[in-house]
């Protein structure tokens, strides 16, 4: 019997009455004001607003028409543990997630040491069972040490709770190596998630190759570095009938390659990040190191292709690629800075402000894409329905805030949206029936 894929610290099962909240769950089709009761951590009742009255020992939360959504799920975050706890740890990373409305995240294995063995996975899961505020799944490496040369003990890792496998941060450069992993998947299962980059094309690059890199004299990473690898690995996945997930798509040609693979019935899925959906190479012109990430921010045409893909379903979900780095690591010239931006605390508000408010996508679609990641990794989807465990986030869509104005829950502050005025603030997050986040100015009545 394999271990449960998700772990979290101890949670106190909550008894809540969320009065007059606007429930929005695109899967169950609810988009209306309701009273919602959570009893012992489970969704117990949904009723017309005003129909439910507070019971003894029940905390009353005045919803005031604020939106109650299924809590989000992020299949791609870096919690930096073990080895890089000065950037983030399981506590701070999951606190940041909870503050962003997330009740589940998948942690990448590019830690120090690399998460590539069962003992390390067990120890990490033990730590998560003490420290993690929300549910965390671990995605160990495909190849030992992310070296691309030898498979990890994937079957044992799966028994110990590995959600899937990835060499994220690096590509599996050798097609032969990746093919072996895809074949081995028949034995052990587990989605293979791929960071796509051809190092012979990206070498020496620190940003997107285009007009801005030409003007700044900073080495460029061409979009073909990603798209040729997506096309190659989609073909491998099709040939081996393997289940593959492409991480953080960033350009037109990659979206096209995924669409073509899906049209052929290949078992591929993909994600896009808030920063690739909202920012472009123009945002790099000031050489702000928070705008340096991998894959790099590309052109407006690439951004539009990602938005179209999100709308059509070619892009299955939103993933933040939350990548914390310490201040001193980012406070250096652009070319020297490590790649990555944090994203958990701003994902919803940034996308709501940038895509929903201007009418580019519907709020329901955004919520669907922010919660779709779990199912892609064979995990239960957060749903607002009686009998389900309470995985909820309560959001004030009208609240305006400046990202970072009150600091960050994350240990790091390298957020590409810092300083931007955003709309939509998470007031409360419930994970597996326990309240894991409350907005600090949020008034709680009763209990």
């Amino acid at each position: 019997m394999a271990a449960e894929p998700l772990v979290h610290g101890s949670l106190q099962a909550a008894d809540l009455l969320l009065r007059d909240v606007h429930v929005l769950d695109p899967r169950s089709g609810i988009d209306a004001r309701r009273d919602v009761r959570v009893r012992e951590g489970q969704l117990a009742e949904l009723a017309e607003p005003g129909a439910l009255s507070q019971e003894p020992n029940e905390e009353l939360v005045e919803g005031r028409g604020n939106h109650l959504m299924p809590a989000f799920f992020d299949p791609h975050v870096h919690l930096r543990t073990p080895g890089q706890e000065h950037k983030e740890d399981l506590d701070t990373g999951t606190r940041a997630a909870a503050a962003g409305g997330y009740a589940g995240v998948l942690a990448m294995p590019n830690t120090d040491p690399v998460l590539d063995s069962a003992p390390l996975l067990r120890s990490l899961r033990d730590t998560a069972a003490r420290e993690a505020r929300i549910a965390v799944g671990f995605v160990p490496a495909i190849t030992r040490g992310l070296e691309g040369e030898q498979l990890t003990e994937m079957a044992e890792l799966r028994q110990q709770g590995a959600v899937g496998f990835t060499d994220d941060g690096r590509p599996v450069t050798s097609a032969g190596m990746l093919r072996k992993a895809l074949q081995y998947q028949r034995l052990c299962g587990g989605v293979i998630a791929l960071h796509e980059e051809d190092p012979t094309l990206s070498r020496g690059g620190a940003m997107h190759e285009g007009a801005v890199s030409a003007a700044l004299g900073i080495g460029g990473i061409p979009t073909i570095s990603e798209s040729t690898m997506v096309a190659r690995d989609a073909a491998l996945a099709g040939y081996e009938d393997a289940r593959v997930h492409f991480q953080h798509l960033s350009c037109v040609a990659s979206v096209q390659a995924v669409a073509a693979a899906k049209a052929q019935g290949f078992r591929v899925s993909t994600e896009a990040s808030p920063h690739h959906l909202l920012l472009t190479e123009e945002d790099v012109r000031g050489m702000d190191t928070r705008m340096k990430m991998n894959p790099p921010l590309a052109t407006e045409a690439d951004r539009q292709a990602l938005i179209a893909g999100l709308r059509s379903g070619t892009i299955d979900c939103v993933a933040t690629d939350h990548a914390p780095h310490a201040r001193e690591e980012k406070e250096v010239p652009f070319e020297q800075a490590p790649m990555g931006t944090t994203g958990l605390e701003t994902a919803f508000a940034a996308l709501y402000t940038g895509l929903v408010l201007p009418g580019i996508i519907e709020l329901g679609l955004l919520v669907e894409r922010l919660t779709a990641g779990a199912a892609l990794f064979d995990l239960p989807t957060h749903t607002i329905a009686p009998g389900e465990p309470a995985n909820l986030t309560l959001i004030d869509l009208d609240a305006e805030w400046v990202a970072g104005e009150r600091g960050w829950e994350s240990r790091s502050e390298n957020c590409c949206f810092a300083g931007r005025k955003l709309r939509g603030k998470v007031l409360m997050t419930v994970c597996e029936g326990g309240v894991v986040y409350r907005e600090r100015a949020f008034s709680v009545v009763g209990a």
Binding site: A211, S213, I218, G220, G286, E328, E331, V332
Partner: protein, 326 residues
């Protein structure tokens, strides 16, 4: 003007003001006593993270001719080798209260960062492959003294544009002064979308005769090893500016140091068409003008010296006509 970070920050009139000031300083260089007291008591710090002979000595000379104190700080042999960050190095050196920091680094945008960390005027003396604004100013100065004006001139920049901060600054500066710029070089060394800077792009030199000015870039040996071009021999065969390719009316420029036999043949370096030593000479007076502009010149309000406003330190001599803005 508080800093000189990018040539993009200078409009045509500012470039012309600096060039005119440099022309006035040129007269000082011909005197027996090559010194004016314009920046007496001011401190200029040369902070160099990359090897540089001509740029550093040119800034040093410029500062000394203006009577400023100069401190040279080279990254090699310093605390930088012990792992001190750029920020900490700058904060430490700032404790000595330099009025200007001349900064050369291998990293694009470093001068912008430094300008946020201290109160000194920052002069970008080369940041990675991005910009080298004083080189662009001295090239404009040199061309102006040769051609009178740059308006309508056709300037070809030939060679390794991809790795050249000189090219990037000059593409902008020459156009701002009214010239038409064409870049030419091997397709592997011409950045994609460089034409968005307003220049034309050519991959061979067949139209080179149409140029008024040929600006050859240094072809660094390490680029050969990184297989950007098949060989020096092939590069020279296609892109070397030599007696066969250079027509008699063209002006030849090069930022130095020259690789004779690679980007330029020996005979064109030695020909009177080459203004390469004039560029070096211009380097000192233009950098004097830049330091003067920043530390006491017009527009320097935030750092204006205490006391009466400083007059231009040199009386225009009767033999030197006051330069007219083009």
């Amino acid at each position: 003007m508080n800093h000189l970070l990018s040539i993009k920050d200078l409009d045509r009139s500012t470039i012309e003001r600096i060039v005119s000031q440099a022309e006035r300083f040129a007269e000082v260089s011909d005197r027996e006593i090559k010194k004016v007291p314009a920046l007496r008591g001011r401190m200029v710090l040369n902070l160099f993270y990359e090897a540089s002979t001509r740029t550093r000595s040119s800034f040093e000379l410029a500062a000394k001719r203006l009577s400023a104190d100069v401190v040279n700080f080279a990254a090699s042999g310093s605390s930088v080798e012990k792992g001190e960050s750029l920020k900490d190095t700058v904060l430490t050196l700032s404790a000595h209260k330099p009025d200007a920091i001349v900064l050369r680094t291998p990293w694009a945008g470093a001068s912008e960062l430094v300008s946020k960390w201290c109160s000194a005027a920052i002069v970008n003396a080369g940041d990675g492959k991005r910009e080298h604004p004083t080189q662009a100013l001295l090239d404009v100065y040199t061309l102006k003294s040769r051609l009178g004006r740059l308006d309508g001139a056709s300037i070809w920049i030939v060679g390794d544009v991809a790795h050249s901060r000189v090219a990037r600054s000059n593409i902008v500066a020459f156009q701002r002064m009214g010239a038409k710029v064409t870049v030419a070089g091997p397709p592997t060394l011409i950045p994609r979308e460089i034409q968005t800077l307003g220049c034309e792009v050519r991959f061979d030199l067949s139209e080179l005769p149409s140029a008024d000015v040929v600006y050859a870039l240094r072809m660094q040996n390490e680029r050969m090893n990184e297989t950007w071009v098949p060989s020096v021999r092939e590069y020279a065969a296609w892109y070397q500016v030599n007696g066969r390719r250079l027509s008699p009316r063209q002006v030849l420029m090069h930022p130095g140091p020259v690789n004779r036999g690679v980007e330029l043949s020996g005979e064109v370096v030695d020909s009177p068409q080459a203004v390469i030593t004039a560029q070096v000479e211009a380097g000192v007076v233009v950098r004097m003008a830049v330091l003067f502009e920043l530390l006491s010149g017009a527009g320097s309000t935030s750092r204006a010296p205490i006391g009466p406003s400083t007059p231009a330190p040199v009386e225009p001599s009767p033999t030197t006509p006051t330069p007219q803005p083009a």
